[in-house]
């Protein structure tokens, strides 16, 4: 077993298999796998100088996923923080080199499982960029509507969990209640609720049902009161405000240098939104603002998400008003899967479908072509770097997950703060482990 060259000479010691062995010899409980642990927070080691090394996660309700942090505490102050990720690593990028372009759509669901549609859309846009395909206007508008609906679901859940972590449990229940409206829409358009796999390269699975506008308009009526309700509930809650104001400050300079994106970056004043800066799917036709905050604390991140929800509602209204008619799949069936209706009723479509799904006959971009394509996912900039070698599987598929770069700064932000602040900061960063580890 060759150790990685970098494991020697690093600054902060972290638990390794060797230290684990020593712990076992001393009769310590296994802190690595968490078996036999009666509590989720475990104190690992007490050093002589009054410092305490504490293990936070990976199985802890406040981490909302498998995130492990190692805090060195002096009293209740975190003097040193380190994180370990990779508990959900599933090799999505390796799978991308072994599955065909169409097959990988299902894998993209599993990244940010709270807004799977945004992942589907981002991936399809990337492959279409690589091929130079432009989807029909109806498909683009539907993708925009569903992306924004999905963004609202993600943001409202994040706000709800932020409330729940800081003692305002009803916010989460209210958020979940209204989120159900969103999941009804998602269920209506693709049949699934969580793992949607809604898009295809060059289009979407099928056109939306006839009652789709009714569902969306009733959602647009019923949802907005929740924003005011949450604001009233949280902004008058002294405990909540005290625990998020001036906590976990990220400066604009840091946000830029550490590559933060999405609501976390914009809450720090970093004016960057892929939808506006590099429009895709016709985002330039919609009139929306990119909200910005200046403080960069947990409170700004809460306000940022709430303001973004309002802008998303605005985009949905505009897109619904101008929703064009027409096909939802690109008509070049050498690259786009025909809809199922056509496959079942039409000889040519059946042949096209068959050729596209056969191994070695699917989408074949030109050899040597590579592209970096970014979309704005709820957590931030979701980028796909695709490199083709002319076969029907990507030669290299790289996902630039927003959570990865957002989470890199987390240890730095919590250092110097109190232990209880770490919970508030983590929930305001909204790191999704599935996307972080891929």
């Amino acid at each position: 077993m060759t150790p990685s060259p970098a494991s020697e000479g690093r600054d902060t010691p972290v638990p390794t298999a060797k230290t684990l062995e020593k712990e076992l010899a001393k009769g310590w409980r296994d802190y690595r796998s968490g078996i036999s642990s009666s509590s989720a927070v475990q104190i690992v080691e007490e050093e002589g100088d009054g410092k305490l090394v504490m293990n936070f996660g990976p199985q802890h309700p406040a981490t909302h996923g498998t995130l492990r942090s190692i805090f060195t505490l002096e009293g209740e102050t975190i003097t040193e923080a380190d994180v370990e990720i990779g508990f959900l690593h599933t090799g999505f990028e390796k799978l991308g080199e072994n599955l065909t372009y169409q097959q990988w759509v299902t894998v993209s669901d599993r990244m940010n499982y709270l807004s799977a549609i945004n992942n589907n859309v981002g991936y399809s846009v990337a492959v279409e960029d690589l091929l130079g395909l432009e989807v029909p206007p109806r498909c683009a508008a539907l993708r925009v509507i569903m992306s924004e609906i999905s963004r609202i679901a993600d943001h409202i859940l994040c706000v709800g969990l932020q409330g729940m972590d800081l003692g305002a449990f009803s916010i989460m229940l209210w958020a979940f209640e209204k989120r159900e409206l969103i999941y009804d829409i998602i269920e209506a358009v693709c049949g699934a609720r969580l793992t949607t796999s809604w898009t295809r390269v060059g289009g979407i699975i099928r056109d939306v049902p006839e009652f789709f506008p009714d569902l969306v308009y009733s959602f647009l009526d019923e949802f907005p009161p929740l924003i005011d309700e949450i604001h009233t509930m949280l902004l008058n809650n002294k405990i909540f405000v005290d625990r998020v104001k001036d906590i976990g400050i990220v400066s604009e300079e840091d946000a830029r240098s550490w590559g933060l994106s999405g609501p976390v970056a914009r809450a720090s004043g970093l004016d960057m939104d892929v939808r506006r800066d590099m429009p895709y799917l016709g985002y330039e036709q919609y009139d929306f603002k990119v909200p910005l905050q200046t403080e960069g604390d947990c409170f700004s991140r809460y306000m940022q998400r709430m303001e973004e929800i309002e802008q998303s509602l605005e985009i949905i209204r505009q897109a619904m008003a101008t929703l064009p008619d027409g096909p939802v799949v690109h008509d070049d069936f050498k690259t786009s899967l025909p809809t199922k209706d056509a496959v079942h009723n039409d000889m040519e479509s059946l042949i096209h479908h068959f050729k596209l799904v056969m191994l070695g006959h699917g989408i074949q971009p030109e050899p040597g072509a590579s592209i970096y394509s970014a979309t704005e996912a709820p957590c931030g900039e979701l980028g796909y770097f695709l490199c083709s070698d002319g076969t029907d599987t990507a030669y290299r598929l790289r996902v630039r997950p927003p959570s990865l770069y957002n989470y890199a700064i987390f240890p730095r932000v919590v250092e110097g703060g109190m232990l209880s602040d770490a919970v508030a900061i983590l929930s305001s960063f909204h790191v999704i482990a599935g996307e972080l580890d891929r």
Partner: protein, 203 residues
């Protein structure tokens, strides 16, 4: 965006020479250079030309392909403001010594970007203060995104020591290796050969 302000137009001629190739594809610019030269190029892009946002660091493994070197390390750079632009810098890196200097001092986002590239490809970024494994376990004996690493792995999952409770003590169990057919790769040459063999008419 990149059509309007080409990324390499403002480079001094001494740095222009370092760029081996410029590819324009679907409106995106891709520059390539050799390994030690990337540092001076990236310094110029960061300090003189205001590319203040490093979007991503990753790599490509061209094992067995007819390319200049085996690895290509990819930097995606972006600048905003009056002259917005985004481009990619591909850095060729040899197989015999996959080491190149880090850009952590230019952009902090390179910290985890380089860490993940190291974790997946074994490329060493000299000067990165924290080049531990990021996604794989500390003692994982391979680099999984290399092209010669099989999709199913080499059985590492079953080789990890398991720690199980025995009475009131935690005991390390011997790893047990058992055969499995789970996750057999569809695209391996062996599988394709097997399919071809099975589809031939039997005598």
């Amino acid at each position: 965006m990149s059509e309007q302000y080409p990324a390499h137009a403002d480079l001094p001629s001494s740095l222009q020479e370092l760029i081996l190739d410029t590819i324009e594809h679907r409106g995106q610019t891709q520059l390539s250079c050799k390994a030690p030269d990337h540092r001076s190029l990236l310094e110029n892009f960061r300090h003189q030309q205001g590319y203040d946002f490093l979007v991503d660091v990753t790599a490509i493994d061209y094992l067995g392909k007819d390319t200049l070197e085996r690895f290509e390390v990819v930097y995606v750079l972006r600048r905003r403001g009056a002259r917005p632009d985004q481009f990619r810098l591909h850095v060729w890196l040899g197989e015999s010594d996959p080491t190149l200097s880090s850009v952590v001092d230019l952009w902090d986002s390179a910290r985890w970007g380089e860490r993940e590239t190291h974790d997946m490809f074994g490329i060493v970024f000299e000067g990165n203060p924290d080049l531990r494994r990021l996604l794989m376990p500390e003692d994982f004996p391979a680099f999984p995104l290399l092209k010669d690493y099989p999709l199913t792995g080499r059985g590492e999952r079953r080789q990890f020591p398991r720690v199980v409770p025995r009475g009131d003590r935690m005991v390390e169990e011997e790893p047990t290796d058992y055969p499995t057919s789970i996750g057999r790769g569809m695209h391996t040459p062996e599988y394709i050969e097997e399919v071809e063999r099975d589809s031939k008419p039997r005598e």
